[in-house]
């Protein structure tokens, strides 16, 4: 579904990604774990076209999307739930969802997407006419995921969905992520600092350290890896 090969990205003189390669197969959940400043967010922003790589290639469903502008990448069925949620805080929940379906022209399809997101996050329906900025952190995350779903993506990238969210809501959100993957067959690339959680929900994992992939493998096997345990899972 998504293939990144030998991607280099730099901010001026600072190299953020030193040539990474990874694959997200159809229908799977792949996670990218790593500490602060490892380059996780940079990877996602480059895939969705918000950043331009120095070299390397991003292929989505067989098409080279490396140089496409972000709005064109979205149009191809790639959803991105950015770090810090980035919902439109002055717009209502309803308007945020409408913006998520910005490229959709079929009213029936948009209505079906709305029903689907209200089904998985009923709380959004209660808050429909509220300004999005007044939602709690967890609700904003639900909205950010729903906004991406409104675009009927075939693949979603989630950037730190657990960040700044009440612990009891984290498990709800992760259950929903699994549900989205299972019921809709949407492939997911999950970026997380919470390595334990990320490995639990994913099929395959990559470990990113200062712009390089240092370890990869099926999630269950990485969970028992002594090196990874020491570095990311608290021993």
């Amino acid at each position: 579904m998504l293939e990144i090969s030998d991607l280099f990205v730099s901010y001026g003189a600072i190299t953020a990604l030193g040539g990474i390669s990874l694959k997200v197969p159809k229908g799977s959940i792949v996670t990218l774990i790593g500490g602060n400043g490892a380059g996780k967010t940079t990877t996602l922003r480059t895939v969705s076209g918000l950043l331009r790589p120095k070299s390397g290639k991003v292929t989505f469903m067989g098409e080279d999307i490396t140089r496409l502008p972000a709005h064109a990448v979205v149009a191809r069925g790639l959803g991105h739930v950015p770090e810090g949620r980035m919902i439109f805080s002055n717009l209502t929940v309803d308007e945020n969802l409408a913006m998520g379906a910005y490229l959709k022209t079929s009213k029936a399809a948009v209505a079906a997407s709305r029903d689907y997101v209200f089904g998985i996050f009923p709380r959004l329906k209660e808050r429909l006419h509220q300004t999005a900025g007044t939602l709690s952190g967890g609700e904003q995350q639900m909205l950010a995921i729903s906004r991406a779903l409104m675009g009927e993506p075939r693949f979603i990238m989630l950037d730190e969905p657990s960040l700044g969210i009440a612990p009891r809501l984290i498990s709800t959100i992760f259950e929903r992520i699994i549900e989205i993957n299972r019921d809709r067959g949407i492939a997911i690339l999950l970026v997380e600092q919470n390595a334990h959680l990320a490995l639990e929900v994913s099929n395959y994992a990559y470990v990113l350290e200062t712009g390089h992939i240092t370890m990869q493998g099926p999630s269950e096997s990485l969970m028992n890896d002594p090196q990874l345990k020491a570095a990311y899972l608290g021993g």
Binding site: S48, G49, L50, P69, A70, H71, V74, A75, H80, P82, M86, I87, F88, S89, N90, L91, E95, A98, M99, G100, Y102, L103, R147, A148, M150, G151
Partner: protein, 296 residues
């Protein structure tokens, strides 16, 4: 009492014209975070388009007036879009100061090109709408004032509808709030920015014709003073805030008119600006603006 009402109507029509210009400043600031100083000269070009088209059509007719105004709006919309595309877009992503200086350069370019093309001598703006003066209960209302208030109200309501009730308007607000997130839902920000420039410039074009109807002497530098006042009105209302710009413009128009009608009329600009500075001292973000820290 009738004098008060008279001044109220005068203030309303002046404020409405300021509002038409101020909205262009505030909308562009909203999506791009810079002040388009060339906006006041787009206003001037609008008046000149109205002048030429108006003279080619039968004068003193409603349809002739409306067609002239529509031509000014369309011409200015195109001009605004072209300026953004050719001048501001290549600088996007660079330091804001560069764009700001370029905007000042663009403003001077339009002013002096205007002198070259139209000549520096002021011209008398034709009476493109029917002229009539109505009087009831000692209140003198000119047809021009009625036209200004009606046309401006229709345009402001149309803008309100566009920005708050349509998809492209919601996209404009989304881009203003967070351009990155807007791109991630599939919004082409180039299209939204062009649309914003077109919309703002069309309003300025209408403003130019309406201003020229009430102050019927036009020249290539005519945009400077009303442009400055409209800019101040936008800041007063909270720059980037659309209802704020309209409110700021109304306040400014009213204060100016009322002072003008009093015995301190010589100091009308000084008094108007003193009041504005006073308001900004207490509400630095403007009347409806919100203090936000610049996000890095």
């Amino acid at each position: 009492m009738s004098e008060f009402l008279q001044q109220l109507i005068n203030g309303l029509s002046l404020g409405a014209i300021y509002a038409l210009i101020a909205l262009g400043y505030t909308m562009v600031y909203g999506v791009l975070r810079f002040i388009n100083f060339a906006h006041s000269d787009v206003f001037m070009v609008g008046a000149f388009i109205g002048y030429y088209v108006g003279r080619a059509l039968p004068l003193g007719t409603v349809w002739g007036g409306l067609v002239s105004m529509a031509a000014a709006m369309a011409g200015c919309a195109v001009l605004g879009i072209v300026i953004e595309r050719l001048v501001y877009r290549p600088l996007r992503g660079g330091p804001t100061l560069n764009v700001l200086i370029t905007a000042i350069g663009m403003s001077l370019f339009l002013e002096y090109s205007g002198q070259l093309v139209f000549g520096a001598t002021p011209r008398a703006f034709p009476q493109i709408f029917p002229s009539k003066v109505m009087e009831f209960h000692g209140l003198i209302i000119s047809m021009n004032q009625v036209i200004v208030i009606v046309v401006a109200s229709v345009l402001l309501l149309g803008l309100e509808f566009t920005v708050f009730r349509t998809k492209i308007g919601t996209a404009m607000r989304a881009v203003a709030l967070n351009p990155g997130a807007a791109q991630l839902v599939g919004i082409n920000i180039d299209v939204v920015i062009s649309f914003t420039f077109g919309l703002g410039s069309a309003l300025a074009g209408a403003g130019g014709v309406l201003y020229a109807l009430n102050y019927p002497s036009i020249d290539p530098l005519m945009g400077v003073v009303p442009g400055l006042k409209a800019f101040v009105a936008a800041v007063l209302g909270g720059v980037g805030n659309i209802p704020g710009a309209a409110l700021g413009a109304m306040i400014l128009g009213m204060v100016e008119t009322f002072v003008d009608g009093s015995r301190w009329s010589t100091y009308k600009d000084a008094i108007a600006f003193t009041i504005l500075i006073g308001i900004l001292l207490f509400r630095p973000a403007g009347l409806l603006g919100r203090m936000t820290s610049e996000k890095v």
